[in-house]
Symmetry: D2
Subunit: 269 residues, 4 copies
Amino acid sequence: MKLAFFGDVVGRSGRRAVSDHLPGLRKRLELDAVIINAENAAGGFGITAGTAEQLFDAGADVLTMGNHTFDQPQGISLIDNDPRILRPANYPPGTPGRGANLYDVNGYQMLVVSLHGRVFMDALDDPFQAAERELAAAPLGEVADIVVVDLHAEATSEKNAMGYFCDGRASLVVGTHQHVPTADTRILPQGTAYQTDAGMCGDYNSVIGMEIDEPLRRFTTRMRSARFEPATGTGTLCGVFVETDGRGLAVRAEPIRIGGQLADQVPAA
Amino acid sequence: MKLAFFGDVVGRSGRRAVSDHLPGLRKRLELDAVIINAENAAGGFGITAGTAEQLFDAGADVLTMGNHTFDQPQGISLIDNDPRILRPANYPPGTPGRGANLYDVNGYQMLVVSLHGRVFMDALDDPFQAAERELAAAPLGEVADIVVVDLHAEATSEKNAMGYFCDGRASLVVGTHQHVPTADTRILPQGTAYQTDAGMCGDYNSVIGMEIDEPLRRFTTRMRSARFEPATGTGTLCGVFVETDGRGLAVRAEPIRIGGQLADQVPAA
Amino acid sequence: MKLAFFGDVVGRSGRRAVSDHLPGLRKRLELDAVIINAENAAGGFGITAGTAEQLFDAGADVLTMGNHTFDQPQGISLIDNDPRILRPANYPPGTPGRGANLYDVNGYQMLVVSLHGRVFMDALDDPFQAAERELAAAPLGEVADIVVVDLHAEATSEKNAMGYFCDGRASLVVGTHQHVPTADTRILPQGTAYQTDAGMCGDYNSVIGMEIDEPLRRFTTRMRSARFEPATGTGTLCGVFVETDGRGLAVRAEPIRIGGQLADQVPAA
Amino acid sequence: MKLAFFGDVVGRSGRRAVSDHLPGLRKRLELDAVIINAENAAGGFGITAGTAEQLFDAGADVLTMGNHTFDQPQGISLIDNDPRILRPANYPPGTPGRGANLYDVNGYQMLVVSLHGRVFMDALDDPFQAAERELAAAPLGEVADIVVVDLHAEATSEKNAMGYFCDGRASLVVGTHQHVPTADTRILPQGTAYQTDAGMCGDYNSVIGMEIDEPLRRFTTRMRSARFEPATGTGTLCGVFVETDGRGLAVRAEPIRIGGQLADQVPAA
Ligand SMILES: [Fe+2]
Ligand SMILES: [Fe+2]
Ligand SMILES: [Fe+2]
Ligand SMILES: [Fe+2]
Ligand SMILES: [Fe+2]
Ligand SMILES: [Fe+2]
Ligand SMILES: [Fe+2]
Ligand SMILES: [Fe+2]
């Protein structure tokens, strides 16, 4: 079974990178499933029906979110109603939407779990407990043929730890939120594919996807002059490709980077 | 002119990766200068005379530090006395040691600036002001033939911003501290080579270089049972290679990863 | 029913303030119950059997803890075995000890709940959910004659919010951890006595209970020269006095401050 | 010489508490100078010409600010042009306005210094260095007859440390930002009056001055439903009164609390 996961789509440049490159890639790599983190799809903040549709049209099966989950007011009912969009599973009880779900993709049962880190981030319930609960509810090799865990987190230590925590129980543990891809793609000792951060889909000639001027002004003056606006240059499609064996464990894990400012890296078909 | 920068050396595995691979690499790539972040060289915390010597012996010209600068009591006088070791330039006035220095390497004047981020980190004076001051004191193309800036920081946004802040005024801006290499090596519009994080030199079968059990226990139980100990498996030499033109601007920037858990990536000679 | 709650006991000066003033005060005010936060009782960090005994001997019925709960290795089994000592109720499942308990004091059933804040503090599960759960398990006026909630927290906003969250369901919501008493003692609209912080029992000629030199050095130099040591001058007994009606709601709430650097404030008998 | 300092004025309730009680109090206590923190005067966020005028009309000589300094776009030029309004002295070089100033009040030379803390707050340059610089520029007993330092900070430890750092060199060191008055008013060993937090001028039936519902919703659900709005009940005038000797050191320091939800506390004339 073959899947790809792509990191935080930032604004129009990010969505365009997905629309431009994903359909061809999906065919070429014969992907059974595609998951995309979409927390910055709508102008850099949250998700709307239109931006979600654009990503589904380009080939996404499931969208995950992060700290920007509910930035768009219309995103709340969207997430509550569309089971293809996940918000973090360790959000408080009663939060609209769902944090994990089982999907039928090309005849495979795929569990996707969205988690939110706590180090240097807003206060939330324990993502490790949430992972434990969701992995136990649809165990790999029993209920699920494939398990994908997205940990939306700031600290590399928390992401490393989650990788080993899930090792052998997930097909892929991948981080999002840093908006920079990490070069540590590998298969952990018990068979889980791992990459600390998927990187963003967006224009890398920017400060984590945003036009450079305003963030730089805030860093150097402590004053706000304008909103953050997504950078509008050519975006990069950025993520990770995983191939699994019959048990749902990884036999291949490779980065994907197509277009824009970063050097291209495309897995062989 | 050719140089390489390597990220945080973590404990014995990290030092061994440097000793095993750097001497050969230095010859093969005909490196004029090597800079290494050594803030975790001594058992994961700080630096000692012995661990510094080991890195100099293997081919380092300059060592930079970070939030662990003064973790070893003996490190304080070492850093104060040895001009080849830098602590962050934006530490308070009166701090032992120096934050930037001009080095003669193979006949080139090389300015190295050590900076410390502030986002999600301890309170310090502004690293952008410090960069401004140090870059103005030895301008690229006038006083310095080559300028290397290490921003030891947690947040990718702060590192991105520093890259553009120094673009055209430094040969390389590279981040450290995250202990995971980023895959965004590139040359910025004005000619500065950039990589958000150099990654660590150490055993990647770990939680950012440390044995997995204790960090995982702290994440899941909030209790401490033991000290953090560096992982002892085979380490990876991890960093970035840069070649500059006559003005000290980058014409080539490529990641370096040799040995251990990560896929090898070695620049062509 | 009459009770008093005293804030974080810091080291010997704090324990002495309790031993010197509590026995007399308990008689004079005819207190039915005394609760003390003891997270800094042992040399400023955690609790030991000896320091706990000293506080029980002086008249404490129940001890609560905070972020320093497990700082002393011997404190772990002590807290696990002695039901009179509570650690935060929103610590992870499986943590030694208990976070809330029902006590028989002078014939009254007293529920005490220890909670830990999350703003500017370590990651923990939601203290509001924990409060909800514990208050529902022993409702005021049904199971409990009196309910005391200690929120060990940094942010005044989180403590204010907890006060209103529990208003009408607790006899007293009081904060700890800031080591400075607040002057906002009052009865909230639904009858819960409230004070944002009880203040510490310790020597106020200090930096939150610690000798001044080392914290001041760290603020101004970013270097550590020594351990934090509790200040050794005369301590202040610092807390809040509450009298309740037949429903367990507050009819009187007044600060207590006796001895040391702060102006004395003693409720009339 | 007699002065009073009042903490963060929050919205209309806060401004009204100042207008209602300050004119009479200023007469009764024969105050030579009045300083007010006004960072929340305009609807809870920043300052405007109109809200500043209201506070000056009620008897303020100087207004200090904090993390909300520039929340109102029109506040920027106001602060830049009106020397009676101070923004933190440790803001970056080039920031509009001034961080300290010498005022002629009733024939006394009064230095006021506005400082901003760094613990649990945005990154800024060192407030201790800034204090050192400003105190040296107009030393108490030489240039200044009276020196008032406002440290706008979250952490009680940072405020305690600043008190001792300035002890003997300032007439008053007082904290703001926590929006809850502390009950630790005292004179430090070298003669500086000190109170960890002045408390807010505003409606205490609130979450630090704001209507309860929205902050409580955010704490319990992680979702935003509305803006923060200042609570509209009767406000409390909240601050500290200091009387100094001929050297500008404190001989008397007492809290002031008038009106609203807190128990009244008024210094004797
Ligand atoms: Fe994102
Ligand atoms: Fe994010
Ligand atoms: Fe490091
Ligand atoms: Fe570091
Ligand atoms: Fe404490
Ligand atoms: Fe505490
Ligand atoms: Fe404020
Ligand atoms: Fe503030």
